[in-house]
Amino acid sequence: MERMLGEIKMIGQGKSWLMEKTMHGKVTRRTVLQRTEPSDMLQHCSLAKRSCILLVTANSQLEPPVMDYTVSVADRMNCKVLATYVHTQPLFWQGGTQQDLFTAAIEQNGAAFKEKAAARGVEFEFVEESGRISQVISRLCRIVKRVEFVLLDQGIKIEEAASASPVPVFNIVCTDARTGRMIPHHQAKKILKGEKPMKVTSRKSHFWQTILFGAMTAVFYAAVFSNADFIMKYFTKGGLFALLPVATVFAFSYAHGSFTSNFWSALGIEGSKGATLKQTRTVEKRSEEKRPDTRPRLRADA
């Protein structure tokens, strides 16, 4: 413990703090280095007191089926969950906004995960990490003493993760319910219909899309109103010409709908971050209902 260097950012339970850790920590630019005594650190880290499952992903977001599975296992085993989002290329320069987007996406995804865990009464924390997967697992297993096993999200090679792990490592794969075949990672995202993976996009990109779709909409309007007589002549002919107004409004709804959506996003008016949480809360409530225990029991009849 005395050799700990670097940092881990714990974001669980709505507050963040910094801890020192072993090995070569990749220091992100948000880091404030400070040295803490091991006893203090353990006092802060509630996960150190109880056995836990370490879930590791190399993405900024975990897919809902993976979250559900982990929470379900933790619930059955009465364990806590520590989700670790690992930034595997922290020094790769991608215009400067990459780290902020990564952190923002993690915070959103972590909040959704926390809500799922809370619905099942499972304690949960998540950390943002950087470096090689094997090193991160090794580091966390030393700091958080009672890691029972490690679960790997899709996209991580189990050989790499297991090479430095002191505890068993399992990987999660999504399989097709009908064929039983493994679904590739990029397709696994489509499993939960109706809920798109959380995406963090910048206001700058919304601004440019607003300009693009706004121009497209303006061209559409100009085309219709500058040729109003010609258009009205054919659009009101009826019969098969009925398809003309319908097709026109479909084209308009695409261009103008995208424009208006990006317009509000560019102004910073977007859906609440808790929007998806409200829905998961409703779904989880149902799963809380206990199934009747129909197992046969021994009876001692006098």
Binding site: G14, K15, K193, G194, E195, K196, Y221, V224, F225, A228, I231, M232, F235, T236, K237, G238, G239, F241, A242, L243, L244, P245, V246, T248, V249, F250, F252, S253, H256, G257, F259, T260, S261, F263, W264, I269, E270, G271, S272, K273, G274, A275, T276, K278, Q279, T282, V283, R286
Partner: protein
């Protein structure tokens, strides 16, 4: 033009004031539709008619703007995980049948009692449905508000109906319910019939989805947009077949309403569940008052009553303004609560970041 109807239609010339008016009414209507699933379109038909647009063209153009608006709104709300597409499509198909039944009923009334009788039937439907359903929804919303508005309890009727295993049973994952199609059918038919009668099927569709089928108000209002899309598309094809759609009017309303519908959909993510019921009930009850004031005119035409011409004119004008007031009140409540909740959320995030 196709058929004898379209040949007699005169399409109006548009000026700057009417363009601005249509865009603003479209925006407010879209805002309400995006939030409560429907209900924004009922002002548009009388508003267009007040500009001199013939009644059939006003209805057709309104219908033609409704389905792309519902499409954009439902896509937006689908992204928030609020739409049950399967439930919406099934309801939409049955509602389409309801629309046809509603049109037949209307036609029979028109043949028997003439235009005044038909208008009276529409107004009586308006007032009775809106008062009964609106007061029930308002009572429920106020009860939820009093309780803090956090919990959602499945209505007793819906819970009982879901327990009845009557073939064919269907499971709706997003709405998180399993119910027999036989209970969806009457709700959808009534939605379609009301849409054919007063142009806003959602005043039955959304409460039906909430209290009979058992969806939450957020899911119900979002799924109603899919129903509105299916009904609107079907209706538009029929009206366009007769050459009744004025595409210029449609595009102008659409210009404002797509801004509104996006904002309304965003608003649903900030407010508590009861707020949708609250807004819906408020609009329904104010519109009921508005339509009540329109009844004496038709009663006079049928020679049942004998109000003076001046008082009938005054009541008709008041009816229109109260309808506009209903829409504006709904829009105000939505915007106020949305921005209030948004600023509270931002303040919380800031406080967490500082801590």
């Amino acid at each position: 033009m196709h058929g004898p109807i379209a040949e007699t239609i005169q399409f109006i010339d548009l000026n700057f004031a009417s363009i601005v008016f249509l865009i603003i009414v479209g925006f407010v209507g879209g805002l309400v539709s995006g939030f409560i699933g429907s209900g924004g379109a009922f002002v548009l038909t009388p508003a267009m008619m007040s500009m001199g647009v013939p009644g059939t063209v006003a209805v057709a153009s309104n219908m033609c703007h409704k389905f792309p608006k519902a499409l954009v709104g439902s896509i937006k709300r689908y992204r928030y995980g609020q739409v049950d597409i399967k439930l919406g499509l099934i309801m939409g198909v049955f509602a389409e049948i309801g629309v046809q039944v509603g049109i037949m009923v209307q036609k029979n009334i028109l043949d028997r009692w003439g235009e005044a009788g038909s208008n009276l039937y529409v107004s009586v439907c308006f007032v009775s449905v809106l008062v009964i359903v609106g007061s029930f929804v308002l009572r429920d919303a106020l009860k939820l508000r009093k309780a803090g508005g956090d919990g959602w309890v499945k209505p007793r009727l819906a819970a009982r109906l879901q327990q009845i295993e009557l073939w064919p049973m269907m499971t709706f994952k997003r709405a998180n319910l399993r119910i027999s199609v036989w209970f969806i059918l009457p709700v959808a038919l009534a939605t379609g019939m009301l849409a054919a009668t007063i142009a806003v099927g959602g005043f039955i569709g959304v409460p039906g989805l909430m209290y009979i089928i058992g969806a939450t108000s957020i899911i119900a209002s979002a799924t109603e947009l899919v129903v509105a899309f299916v009904m609107g598309l079907g209706g538009t094809l029929i009206w366009a077949f007769y050459g009744m759609v004025d595409i210029r009017l449609t595009l102008l309303i659409l210009g404002g309403s797509l801004f509104g519908v996006q904002l309304g959909a965003i608003g649903t993510t900030y407010v508590k569940d009861y707020m949708i019921k609250y807004v819906m009930a408020t609009i329904m009850l104010i519109v009921a008052v508005s339509r009540f004031l329109a009844i004496p005119r038709y009663l006079n035409q049928l020679e049942v009553t004998s109000f003076t011409a001046g008082s009938v004119r005054l009541m008709s004008q008041m009816s229109f303004y109260i309808m506009c007031f209903a829409l504006l009140t709904g829009a105000f409540i939505i915007l106020f609560n949305m921005f209030k909740a948004r600023s509270e959320e931002n303040a919380l995030i800031m406080a967490r970041a500082e801590a």
